[in-house]
C-alpha cells in the first residue's frame, strides 16, 4: 500500500513537524534543567525526566519525521551523552530557517548550498576559536593569585578570537592570499600546535583535570565531582603518563543504589554488586584475601546452551525413563562444584543468570556467585587477573582461573531497604582495573537523571581530553558564529548589488536566517537560566550584537554578562562566592561540532523529502493520503 503525503512546498509539513517537536525542548536546554513528569495516559505510569534525550526517548514519536529525529538524537547520545538538547533545538531552529526560505520562494538546491556554506563558517569559527589546553593551563596559573585577572585574561582570549574571526573575512578579500594575519596565539595552525605539545610533553601546558571539570560542569557540580574522582582514580591505578592524560570511559561503571542519601555517592575501585543475605555471609567469610576467580559468559545452569545452539525437538528416548531431569541437574551441579573446589575458586562471576539452587549449593562450599555482571566488566577483569572467560562452567580448567582478586564488604544496606542486602566491592587493585561510580538517592525516580548527569560529565571530560581543546562556553562560540555569519551575509549582499549574479542571490539571506537560529538558541539558553524573560534576552543579545558589529573590542562584555549570570547561579548552589567567581565556562569542541552537523544533516534530509510511504496494513484516516 502506498499512502503518500504530497507536501505543499511552501508549507513543508516535515519541517514544521521538526520545528514543533524541537519546540517542546525549549525549556530543557542549557545548564539549568527542571524535572519533568511524562505520564502514559494508557497505563497511568509516569517517569521523572530531566535531560532532553530522556524526554524524547519517553515521548516515543511514531511519525516518520519524529522517528528520524529520535534516531539522530539516539546516535548522538550514544557517542557523546550530552548536547542532545543543542542538537534538537538547532534542528528546530534551522528547520524554521529552511521553512522561511521556502516561503520566500528560494529553491531547495539553493537553500542546501547556502546552509552548507553556513555550517562550514560555523565549524570554521569553532576550529579557530577553540582554546588549547596549554592556554587554559596558563590562565589557571595566573588566576591562582589575583582572582579577577583570570576573567580578564579569558576575555582577552575571546576578544582576540573575535578579532581573528573578523579577519578571516578580510583575508578572503586579500587577493594575494599569502599574508598570514596572526594576532593571537590561539590561531596558529591547530595541528602543528598539537603536534609540538605531543613532541615536547610539558607539564605546564596541561591543565589540571579539576580545573577543566569546573568549567565543563554546566550546572552539574556534584556529578562532575564524581567524574573527576573517577579520572583521578583511574590514572592513579593505571600509572598513566601524566603528559598524556586520557580518560578511558570503557573502564568506568555505574552502580545505582536506591535508598541512600545523595551525598553518599562516591567512586570506588573495582566494581560494586548487591548481594542477598546468603551471599553476603559467604562474602564476609572470604573478604580481604586474594581470591581465585572464574568468569563465565553464559548462564550457570545445566540447561544453558550457547547462542546459536539449536536444541532438538523430536528426540525420543527408548527404554525406560528413570533418569529424570532433576537428577541430571544434580549430577551437573556436583560436577561443577567439584571442579570449582579442585581449582580452589572462591568467586565466580557470570554474565548470565544463576539458578537459586546453584547459588545455594555454591554458598555451602563458600563459593560466591555473582550473576548479571556486565560483559565489559568481565572483559576488564579477565585482562587484569589473567582469567579466561568461558561459556560453560564445565569448561573451567586451571589456565582459565584468574588470581588476586579481593572482595570487600562495601556497605550494609539492610537499614535502608526492606529486603536486606549488602553491597560488596570486588577489585584487584592492580593495573588495568576499573572504577565504579556509585550513584545514590533516596528518591527512586531521580536515579536515572543522576546517572545520566554523571555520564554526561564523564563524557565531557573524556572528549575534552581527547580533543585537547575547548570552546568558549556560555554562548561565546555561538555569538562568534552569528557575527561571522552576518558578516558573510553582508558580504554576499554587497556582491549581489555589484554584479547582480544569480549565484549569490539568496546566500546572504539564508546565512542571515541561519544566524537568527543561533541567536534564538542563545536567548533560549538565557531564558532557561531563569534570570531573563524571552524579550529581555533577545534585546540583550541583539543589542550586544549591534555593539559587537560596531566595535568588536567589547565582545567581552557580552560574554561577561552571560558569565556573570552563570556565576550568580553558581553562588546560589555553591554558597562560596569567592570560589564561584573564578569559574569560567567552556564547551566541548567535538560535541558541539557534531551536534550542529547532525542537526543540519537532519534538516537537509527532511527538507528534501516530499512524501512518505506508509507500508503495512494499518488503517489510517488522514486527509492527504493517497492510495496506490
Amino acid at each position: 500500500m502506498l499512502e503518500s503525503v504530497i507536501i505543499n512546498s511552501r508549507q513543508h509539513v516535515g519541517l514544521q513537524k521538526v520545528s514543533a517537536l524541537a519546540g517542546r525542548f525549549r525549556s530543557s536546554i542549557g545548564p539549568i534543567k527542571n524535572y519533568k513528569f511524562i505520564q502514559d495516559e494508557v497505563s497511568g505510569e509516569s517517569v521523572l525526566v530531566c535531560s532532553c534525550f530522556r524526554i524524547i526517548e519517553n515521548l516515543e514519536p511514531t511519525c516518520a519525521v519524529g522517528q528520524l529525529v529520535y534516531e539522530t538524537v539516539q546516535a548522538h547520545h550514544k557517542g557523546y551523552r550530552s548536547g542532545s538538547g543543542c542538537l534538537l533545538f538547532l534542528a528546530g531552529a534551522w528547520s524554521r530557517t529552511a521553512l522561511d526560505c521556502l516561503q520566500r520562494g528560494i529553491a531547495v538546491t539553493h537553500i542546501i548550498k547556502a546552509m552548507s556554506e553556513g555550517i562550514d563558517i560555523c565549524l570554521d569559527v569553532c576550529k579557530k576559536s577553540s582554546v588549547l589546553f596549554k592556554d587554559i593551563a596558563g590562565m589557571h596559573k595566573r588566576t591562582a593569585t589575583p582572582q579577577d585577572l583570570g576573567l580578564q585574561l579569558s576575555e582577552e582570549a575571546i576578544t582576540n578570537a573575535s578579532k581573528e574571526a573578523a579577519n578571516v573575512h578580510d583575508k578572503c578579500l586579500n587577493m594575494s592570499g599569502q599574508r598570514r594575519v596572526k594576532l593571537s596565539r590561539h590561531f596558529c595552525e591547530a595541528k602543528s600546535e598539537m603536534l609540538s605539545s605531543a613532541l615536547l610533553p610539558d607539564l605546564l601546558e596541561l591543565p589540571d583535570v579539576a580545573v577543566l571539570a569546573e568549567s565543563l560542569s554546566h550546572g552539574c557540580e556534584d556529578a562532575m565531582k564524581l567524574a573527576v574522582e573517577a579520572v583521578q582514580m583511574l590514572s592513579k591505578m593505571n600509572q598513566q603518563d601524566i603528559s598524556d592524560p586520557s580518560f578511558d570511559i570503557s573502564k568506568v561503571q555505574t552502580c545505582v543504589l536506591p535508598g541512600l542519601p545523595e551525598d553518599c555517592a562516591c567512586v570506588v575501585e573495582g566494581c560494586v554488586f548487591l548481594l542477598s543475605d546468603e551471599q553476603a555471609r559467604v562474602a564476609h567469610r572470604i573478604k580481604q584475601q586474594p581470591l581465585k576467580v572464574a568468569l563465565v559468559t553464559g548462564d550457570l545452569s545445566q540447561t544453558y546452551r550457547h547462542l546459536g545452539f539449536k536444541s532438538l525437538s523430536g528426540v525420543g528416548v527408548c527404554e525406560h525413563l528413570d533418569l529424570s531431569a532433576s537428577s541430571k541437574e544434580d549430577e551437573w551441579l556436583e560436577k561443577v562444584v567439584n571442579r570449582l573446589l579442585n581449582l580452589k575458586v572462591n568467586l565466580i562471576l557470570t554474565a548470565g543468570l544463576a539458578s537459586q539452587k546453584v547459588i545455594q549449593h555454591c554458598c555451602r562450599h563458600h563459593i560466591l556467585v555473582v550473576e548479571k555482571v556486565n560483559s565489559s566488566v568481565l572483559r576488564i577483569i579477565a585482562s587484569s587477573t589473567g582469567a579466561v572467560p568461558v561459556s560453560y562452567a564445565t569448561q573451567l580448567a586451571e589456565p582459565c582461573v584468574g588470581n588476586g582478586i579481593n572482595v570487600e564488604i562495601w556497605r550494609d544496606l539492610s537499614s535502608y531497604e526492606r529486603e536486606s542486602s549488602t553491597a560488596v566491592n570486588i577489585s584487584n587493585g592492580r593495573n588495568g582495573g576499573l572504577v565504579t561510580a556509585v550513584i545514590t538517592s533516596c528518591i527512586h525516580g531521580k536515579l536515572q537523571a543522576l546517572e545520566d548527569q554523571f555520564w554526561a560529565c564523564a563524557y565531557r571530560l573524556h572528549h575534552a581530553l581527547k580533543d585537547r581543546a575547548l570552546l568558549p562556553g556560555a554562548g561565546g562560540t555561538e555569538v562568534l558564529c552569528v557575527h561571522q555569519l552576518q558578516k558573510q551575509a553582508e558580504y554576499h549582499r554587497v556582491e549581489d548589488s555589484k554584479t547582480g549574479s544569480a549565484a549569490n542571490l539568496y546566500r546572504g539571506l539564508v546565512l542571515q536566517l541561519m544566524a537568527d537560529g543561533l541567536i534564538d538558541y542563545i536567548s533560549a539558553v538565557m531564558v532557561s537560566t531563569g534570570r531573563f524573560s524571552a524579550a529581555e534576552a533577545r534585546t540583550i543579545v541583539s543589542k550586544q550584537l549591534q555593539d559587537f558589529h560596531k566595535d568588536e573590542i567589547i565582545t567581552g562584555k557580552f560574554l561577561q554578562l552571560i558569565l556573570e549570570s552563570r556565576r550568580e547561579d553558581a553562588v546560589f548552589s555553591a554558597g562560596k562566592p569567592d570560589e564561584a567567581l573564578t569559574v569560567k565556562i567552556y564547551d566541548n569542541l567535538s560535541v558541539k561540532q557534531e551536534a550542529w552537523r547532525k542537526a543540519l544533516d537532519l534538516v537537509f534530509l527532511v527538507l528534501q523529502t516530499d512524501a512518505e510511504i506508509i507500508t503495512g496494513t494499518g488503517q489510517r484516516t488522514e486527509e492527504n493520503l493517497m492510495r496506490l
Partner: protein
C-alpha cells in the same frame, strides 16, 4: 474451525466470483493510480530529487531514499497493472542496478501519452515497437551522437561515470570533494576486482563493503584483501607466512540442527551433546596437527572448540555469514568443509599471506592479505549518519555494477537528460523522413503514425524534464539537441549570461545557438554530432548497457500494459 464445522454441521461458504475489469486503462481509478505513481517516481528522479520516507507508522525505523529498488519494494498495490509495472522494473534493477527510475518514469509517461493521444492501442504498440528498434539501432551505431567511447587508458571517464551515479542520489548529502573522493574509491575498488593475469576465462573478483557510521566520508577507503570483523580481545603472536586456513560452511555449534526434521530415537543414557563435542574436538586436533592457523566458520562454533583452538594459538572467527563465503573461497583458495564426520583432506586447506589488525572507529577488523594474485578487495564506507550511509552503500553497489558493465560494452551515454532530448529529436526527424515506408510496413495511417511518434518523443522529453524539481524550465538547443535547464529565478534577459553548460556538460553555453522550450513544438531537425578533435569531455555520463536495457524494458512493459484487455481478480 475446520474440525468444528465437520462435527456440528457442514457449512458451505460460497466462493465469491472473480471480478473482471474490462479495458482497465480506461478506468479512471487505474489512470489516477498510474498518474500518482508517475508523479511519485518522477519526483524521486535525478540529483536534485525529492526524497521519500518509508516507514510502517507504528514506530519502525525510517528509511529515507530516492533509489528505485527501495521505493518500488516499498510500494505494494492491489491494482495488478501497477504490480506488473513494479515487478518489471524491479527485475531490470536486480539485473542492471541502474536506470530503474528512468525505465519506470519513461514507461509511465508512455502510458499517459498513449491515453492522451487517443489512438487505437494496437497502433500505439506497433509504433512503439518500431521506434524502440529505431532508438536501439541508433544507439548501437558507431556515429551515434549521444554516445561516448570509454577510454580505459585513463581513469578519468570511469571516475566521471562513477560520480554521475553517486551524485544522482541526494540522500547521501555529499559535498563536491566528498563525491569526488567516493567516485575515486569506487573506481579503485572496481580496478582491484579485475584480475591482472588473465587466464582463459576472465573471472571478476568481489568487493566486500563494510560500513562505519559517524566518520567523515573522506575516510572511506579500499583495501586489497578481506577485512573480517574480529571477535573481542583477540591477540596473536607474530605468525609466519603463509598461514593455512580452514573454512567451514556447516554449523560447528555442537547441535544436530543440520540433520533435518524428523523424530530421533536414542538409547537412554546417551549424551548426544558431549558426543558431538568430542567429535568437534577430534576435528580441532586434526586441524591443529595439519598446522592450520586461521579457523573460519560461516556459522556458530562451539565455545569449547573455540577455547581449545585459541589456547593452541589459532585465530578463530565464527558467524561470518553466507555473503562472505564466496570472497573467502576466492581469496584463500580453501574449499568449504560441510561435514564433521570425516577426516579433512589436506586439499581443502587454503592459505593467506599474512594477517594484521586494523582499527576503523569503533570497529576492529582482521585484514587478510592474499597469498597470491587475487581480485578481492574490501571497501570501507564512512558517513555521518545511518540514513546517509545506507544510501551511500546502495549507490556504491550500483556504481560497482555499472563499472563492470563497461567491460562488456565500453561506452557511456551522455547524462543530464541530453541523451533523452537527443534521441527524441533523432526519432522525430527520422520518423518524419521515413514515414511512407514505415506506415506501409506498420499498416497504419500517416496521421496515426505521426501522433504515436509524437507521444513517444514527448515521453522521452518528459523524462529529461523530470530531472528538474525546483520549478526550472527545460530547453533544447536546435543544433545538437542537448538538454538545458533554465532556473526558475532567472529572467529571459539574463539567459545568455547565466546559462551553464548543457546537462551533460559537453556543449558550452557561449556557442551561439537557438534554443527552444521542450514543451513547445519546434521544427524537426537532424541533431548534429559534436565535431571536436579531442574526445568529448562530458561531466555527467550514464551507463550505456543499463540505459539501453531500461529503454527496452520501459517500452515493452508499456506495450504489455496497453495490450491488457481484461483484468480478472480472484477476490477470495
Amino acid at each position: 474451525m475446520k474440525l468444528n464445522s465437520l462435527l456440528l454441521m457442514s457449512r458451505l461458504v460460497k466462493k465469491s466470483p472473480s471480478v473482471c475489469t474490462d479495458l482497465p486503462l480506461s478506468s479512471s481509478d487505474v489512470c489516477n493510480k498510474l498518474h500518482l505513481m508517475k508523479e511519485f517516481l518522477r519526483s524521486s528522479y535525478g540529483p536534485t530529487a525529492r526524497l521519500k520516507q518509508v516507514h510502517n507508522n507504528i514506530g519502525g525505523s525510517v528509511v529515507t531514499s530516492s533509489t528505485s529498488s527501495v521505493l518500488l519494494q516499498a510500494i505494494a498495490s492491489s491494482q495488478p497493472i501497477i504490480s506488473l509495472i513494479r515487478s518489471s522494473i524491479l527485475n531490470h534493477v536486480s539485473r542492471f542496478s541502474d536506470c530503474g527510475l528512468f525505465a519506470a518514469v519513461f514507461c509511465l509517461c508512455l502510458l499517459e501519452q498513449a491515453g492522451q493521444c487517443g489512438l487505437r492501442k494496437n497502433v500505439m504498440i506497433k509504433v512503439n515497437k518500431h521506434l524502440l528498434a529505431l532508438c536501439t539501432g541508433y544507439l548501437q551505431q558507431e556515429d551515434c551522437g549521444c554516445k561516448v567511447k570509454l577510454d580505459f587508458c585513463s581513469s578519468q571517464s570511469l571516475i566521471t561515470l562513477a560520480r554521475s551515479v553517486i551524485s544522482s542520489k541526494p540522500t547521501c548529502v555529499l559535498t563536491e570533494p566528498e563525491s569526488d573522493h567516493i567516485s575515486r574509491v569506487a573506481v579503485q575498488a572496481f580496478l582491484l576486482t579485475v584480475p591482472c593475469n588473465i587466464p582463459d576465462t576472465v573471472r571478476l573478483g568481489r568487493t566486500v563493503t563494510i560500513t562505519i557510521e559517524g566518520h567523515s566520508v573522506l575516510k572511506s577507503a579500499v583495501f586489497p584483501g578481506l577485512l573480517l570483523s574480529m571477535p573481542e580481545n583477540l591477540c596473536f603472536d607474530s605468525l609466519c607466512s603463509p598461514l593455512h586456513v580452514v573454512l567451514f560452511s556447516i554449523s560447528l555449534a555442537g547441535d544436530l540442527s543440520e540433520i533435518g526434521d524428523g523424530r530421533i530415537e536414542m538409547h537412554q543414557g546417551v549424551d548426544v551433546d558431549s558426543q558431538i563435542l568430542d567429535q568437534l574436538l577430534e576435528l580441532g586436533k586434526q586441524v591443529l596437527k595439519d598446522g592450520v592457523k586461521l579457523f573460519l566458520c560461516q556459522k556458530v562454533i562451539h565455545p569449547v572448540l573455540q577455547h581449545y583452538l585459541r589456547c593452541n594459538g589459532v585465530i578463530v572467527i565464527e558467524r561470518l555469514g553466507v555473503s562472505l563465503m564466496e570472497p573467502l573461497i576466492q581469496l584463500t583458495g580453501a574449499q568449504p568443509v560441510a561435514t564433521l564426520h570425516a577426516t579433512i583432506p589436506s586439499t581443502v586447506y587454503g592459505k593467506v599471506h599474512n594477517v594484521c589488525i586494523r582499527q576503523f572507529g569503533s570497529k576492529t577488523m582482521l585484514h587478510l592479505h592474499p597469498a597470491g594474485e587475487t581480485a578481492i578487495c574490501s571497501m570501507i564506507l564512512c558517513h555521518r549518519n545511518e540514513t546517509m550511509l545506507n544510501e551511500l552503500k546502495l549507490v556504491c553497489q550500483t556504481t560497482e555494477l555499472v563499472l563492470r558493465l563497461t567491460l562488456r560494452e565500453p561506452f557511456a551515454l551522455l547524462g543530464g537528460g541530453c541523451t533523452e532530448t537527443h534521441l527524441a529529436a533523432y526519432v522525430r526527424h527520422k520518423s518524419k523522413n521515413e514515414m511512407s515506408e514505415s506506415t506501409s510496413v506498420l499498416g497504419c495511417s500517416q496521421t496515426e503514425y505521426l501522433l504515436a511518434a509524437e507521444a513517444f518523443c514527448h515521453s522521452l522529453e518528459l523524462v529529461a524534464t523530470s530531472l528538474e524539481h525546483d520549478g526550472g524550465t527545460s530547453l533544447i538547443d536546435l543544433t545538437h539537441a542537448h538538454h538545458w535547464t533554465l532556473p526558475s529565478d532567472v529572467t529571459e534577459e539574463h539567459l545568455e549570461g547565466v546559462m551553464a553548460p548543457c546537462g551533460c556538460g559537453v556543449v558550452e553555453s557561449c556557442q551561439n545557438k537557438t534554443r527552444s522550450y521542450l514543451d513547445t513544438k519546434y521544427a524537426g531537425f537532424s541533431p548534429a554530432p559534436l565535431l571536436t578533435a579531442s574526445p568529448l569531455q562530458a561531466t555527467v555520463l550514464d551507463s550505456f548497457t543499463a540505459k539501453v536495457n531500461a529503454l527496452g524494458v520501459a517500452v515493452e512493459t508499456a506495450n504489455l500494459v496497453l495490450d491488457v484487455r481484461y483484468v480478472i481478480q480472484d477476490v477470495n
